[in-house]
């Protein structure tokens, strides 16, 4: 029953998305108030029916309905309940349905919060989102229908890939998709402004909170994904430059640039064309990521089974959506010139520079990701790109970026004052340089220079992020801290998080030690000052796997620090999986992964000591929190004076 209801809801959603797209675009064009009035209800209805469709698929998973092909392929009765939920988006069709659910969530949210915006503008925004939703709904109903029946039903379902059976992966795709799809709001805002030929500071203020929310979800999604890779893939690596990781990282880079350039457009009315382009690019890269992951044109650890029609269809959506957006940009952007002028030494220049660095970094990642494909298509031969390329290109770009993070906020808008800027940066600059020199001389002789440089750089970012709020707090009379806006606090927190992240990356990649050994019960190995003793092993049995558990006691300077129990499992479907065990303190991880039995009662083990690795995810979390704090800025909730009749908007300044 549930699959039929889901199927029906999916088709109804298709119709509703069509209504939303048609009335949202044609309504304002023909100045038809009846059509415009139709847009908002259809956005709410679309959300309702997609939610029903998604609930139906979830129900089929929870009850393990083996007449549904998608359930048969990705679940069985023995899987724990939570992974039945995550199984819904564990493979292709379901993750497309999740994508559609997300776009309807964002559509309903935009419909709800845009009631104060000019009616024709919000109708166009929703119309664009309706078109995107329609594209994916057609795809889902036609080529990737998750409700297809299989009759007669098989005896038992396949297994969900064991590496996907992790609590972190339960959170990862929804977060990432919220981010990906959230960027469609910025895309729609930009397209609507380009269609209407009006892009002003009020537009920037409306767009900013949406971009911030999407960017926050992307940040959290990437951070969780990185932690999942660290925890679950058993290697202790946290970033692999895999095409799928790059697909999520590229929109993040552009969204980060967009957040900053929106500030300039809001405060100074400048960079309009550039901001509009970034807003279009963010979601374009999300679509490109979807294509790369779903079409299988690139080899990836995450690549899904491939149907050639699917690749062509997603490519068609990509070509139409992005092509139309960019054509609109080429047509309308020349009108967007203007805005406040600024001198070479100014906050505007600093932001433009950091924007350029981020876009170049994104282009570098994009090139590295698709270059093998380009080469092959051009018949030039073959080239392959791996982590060496990315590290070599990406890291040098990040150094000037993080130097700028501290300098930019110290420079005034429009025309900077060199002496004032110097007064503002000299304390953090001096402190971080002193710290670097002291560490080089005293504490860390023999430590690679790159580690020292990284620590100094992160100290600079952290000190300069703390400096500005502290300076103001010390100067402000008691009780007037609030004069420093939430947005500025959020910025400080996010930049502070970036500093923590650099610290984590630097220290964990230069100071970690690991050892691959084979230990029998009673044997001991030493890594990085810790002694790992294998005490014994025992058989374990889970709901859908069997395995062996090793018991490993770790001691440091004759004191027992932890006892870890890594497992080597074989799942019901026959897939092996290594379940690593970690003992952690905020500043270091002890990590044990267990491989195969190597004969004579011995097991292959990978022992790792990773100092400060958690700072990477703390940093990611703080960056997202900074976004959340900025989002609570009352500026975004202030009533706007809107005169609907003429579609002219007078925003309150602030």
């Amino acid at each position: 029953m549930a699959p039929e209801l889901g199927q029906f809801s999916l088709l109804l959603a298709l119709v509703l998305a069509g209504v939303m797209a048609f009335s949202g675009i044609v309504g304002p064009w023909r100045r038809n108030p009846h059509l415009i009035a139709l847009v908002r209800p259809s956005a709410y209805a679309l959300f309702l029916v997609t939610a029903i469709a998604f609930a139906c698929l979830t129900w089929s998973f929870v009850t393990t309905d083996l007449t549904v092909r998608y359930v048969v392929e990705n679940s069985n009765a023995a899987i724990p309940l939570i992974y039945k939920f995550t199984g819904v988006w564990g493979a292709h069709s379901g993750s497309m349905l999740l994508w559609i659910l997300m776009i309807s969530v964002w559509g309903a949210a935009v419909a709800f919060f845009s009631r104060r915006l000019p009616a024709d503008f919000s109708a166009r925004v929703l119309g664009v989102m309706g078109m995107i939703g329609l594209g994916f709904l057609v795809y889902s109903a036609w080529l990737a229908n998750p409700f297809t029946r299989v009759l007669p039903p098989p005896q038992s379902g396949a297994d969900l890939n064991p590496i996907l059976q992790s609590p972190f992966l339960a959170a990862h795709p929804p977060m990432l998709y919220m981010g990906y799809v959230g960027l469609s709001v910025a895309f729609a805002f930009s397209a609507a402004a380009l269609i209407g030929g009006r892009m002003d500071t009020a537009w920037a203020r409306w767009t900013r909170p949406w971009v911030l929310v999407a960017w926050m979800f992307l940040t959290v999604g990437i951070t969780v994904g990185s932690f999942w890779a660290y925890f679950e893939l058993g290697w202790g690596g946290w970033w692999f430059w895999d095409p799928v990781e790059n697909a999520s990282f590229m929109p993040w880079l552009v969204a980060t640039a967009l957040i900053h350039s929106l500030i300039v457009t809001e405060k100074r009315g400048a960079f309009k064309g550039w901001t509009a382009l970034l807003a279009l690019l963010g979601f374009s890269l999300s679509l490109l990521g979807t294509f790369l992951v779903r079409s299988g044109v690139l080899v990836s650890a995450h690549a899904f089974a491939v149907d050639p029609r699917r690749g062509i269809y997603v490519l068609a959506i990509l070509a139409i959506a992005v092509g139309a957006g960019l054509a609109l940009y080429a047509w309308r952007a020349p009108r967007l010139a203007g805005g406040g002028g600024f001198s070479l030494f100014s906050r505007e220049t600093a932001i433009l520079t950091m924007n350029s660095i981020l876009v170049v970094a994104c282009a570098a990642v994009l090139l590295g990701t698709i270059f093998p494909l380009f080469y092959d298509v051009l018949g030039l031969g073959r080239i392959s790109v791996g982590p060496p390329y990315f590290n070599r290109v990406f890291i040098p770009l990040m150094v000037p970026l993080f130097l700028l993070v501290g300098i930019g906020p110290a420079i005034r808008w429009r025309r900077g004052d060199g002496r004032e800027a110097w007064r503002r940066i000299r304390i953090p600059l001096g402190l971080s340089l002193i710290l670097g020199i002291v560490l080089a001389v005293v504490a860390w002789r023999g430590v690679p220079p790159v580690a020292l440089a990284g620590v100094t750089l992160s100290a600079w970012v952290i000190f300069s992020a703390v400096n500005e709020p502290l300076r103001r707090a010390l100067r402000a009379p008691a009780g007037q801290w609030g004069r420093f806006s939430r947005g500025a606090w959020g910025m400080g927190l996010a930049h502070f998080g970036a500093g923590i992240l650099i610290l984590g990356v630097t220290l964990s990649s230069t100071m970690s030690s690991f050892l691959d050994v084979s230990l029998k019960p009673g044997q001991t190995a030493s890594v990085g000052g810790y002694r790992f003793s294998m005490l014994g092993e025992r058989a374990v049995r889970g709901p859908n796997y069997m395995g062996e558990q090793g018991i490993i006691r770790i001691s440091h300077e004759e004191r027992v620090v932890a006892t870890l129990r890594p497992e080597s499992r074989v799942y019901k479907g026959g897939l092996p999986s290594s379940e690593s065990a970690i003992s952690w303190k905020p500043t270091r991880d002890l990590y044990v992964a267990m491989g195969r039995a190597t004969g004579g009662g011995a097991w292959s083990l990978r022992l790792q000591v990773r100092p400060f690795v958690r700072f990477i995810w703390y940093g990611g979390g703080l960056i997202a929190l900074g976004g959340l704090l900025a989002l609570t800025d009352p500026r975004y909730r202030r009533r706007r004076e809107v005169r609907l009749g003429q579609g002219v908007v007078v925003g309150t300044t602030g």
Partner: protein
């Protein structure tokens, strides 16, 4: 004049995107199912590397020419390779010539690893700094290339070869290639 330049700037993103779409479509049209590796169908990249066990000897394309071989990229730090080891041993026992490319590794660690997990390789080229990574298009370890008599790469397996794959795909492919001239 100024207006004209603005038009050009606006068109740049669209033009770049058109190139991208063309390439992506080409990628789909060229091999609609999958592009396992851009190297397939091309001669194996030229290489000359010291042998793992005999540092004064070198292993190069000449060593693998004239017979059907598997070139397996492995490393002692690679957990997945330990899972693949018994499968390579199975292939070796069934008469397949396997050459190893020890990737980003140290000699002592690699030798200890081979002692523990078995050595199915005819010879092992030692590439401590991963110099061959770009030439061979190595994304991750392990990867296995099937190379025919003429030194042409016929197939590439990314990730581990399971016993089932070895039986149903690798062995039949090697036997088929051996029958060809």
């Amino acid at each position: 004049m100024k207006r004209f330049r603005w038009w050009l700037w606006g068109l740049i993103p669209l033009a770049l995107f058109a190139v991208l779409i063309w390439a992506l479509f080409g990628g789909l049209g060229r091999n609609p199912r999958f592009i396992p590796s851009p190297l397939v169908g091309k001669p194996a990249p030229a290489f000359s590397l010291p042998s793992l066990y005999h540092p004064d000897q070198r292993i190069s394309n000449a060593d693998i020419r004239g017979r059907v071989v598997l070139v397996n990229v492995f490393a002692s730090w690679c957990v997945a390779c330990t899972e693949e080891a018994p499968v390579l041993d199975y292939l070796h026992r069934n008469g397949v010539a396997i050459y190893g490319l020890d990737y980003s590794d140290t000699r002592s660690a690699a030798k200890a690893w081979l002692k523990r997990y078995g050595n199915p390789y005819r010879a092992i080229a030692f590439d401590p700094r991963g110099e061959q990574a770009l030439n061979w298009g190595i994304w991750g370890v392990p990867e296995t290339f099937v190379i025919d008599r003429n030194g042409i790469i016929v197939r590439k397996f990314t990730g581990i070869i399971t016993l089932e794959m070895a039986k149903t795909r690798v062995l039949p492919l090697v036997h088929k290639l051996e029958k060809e001239k």
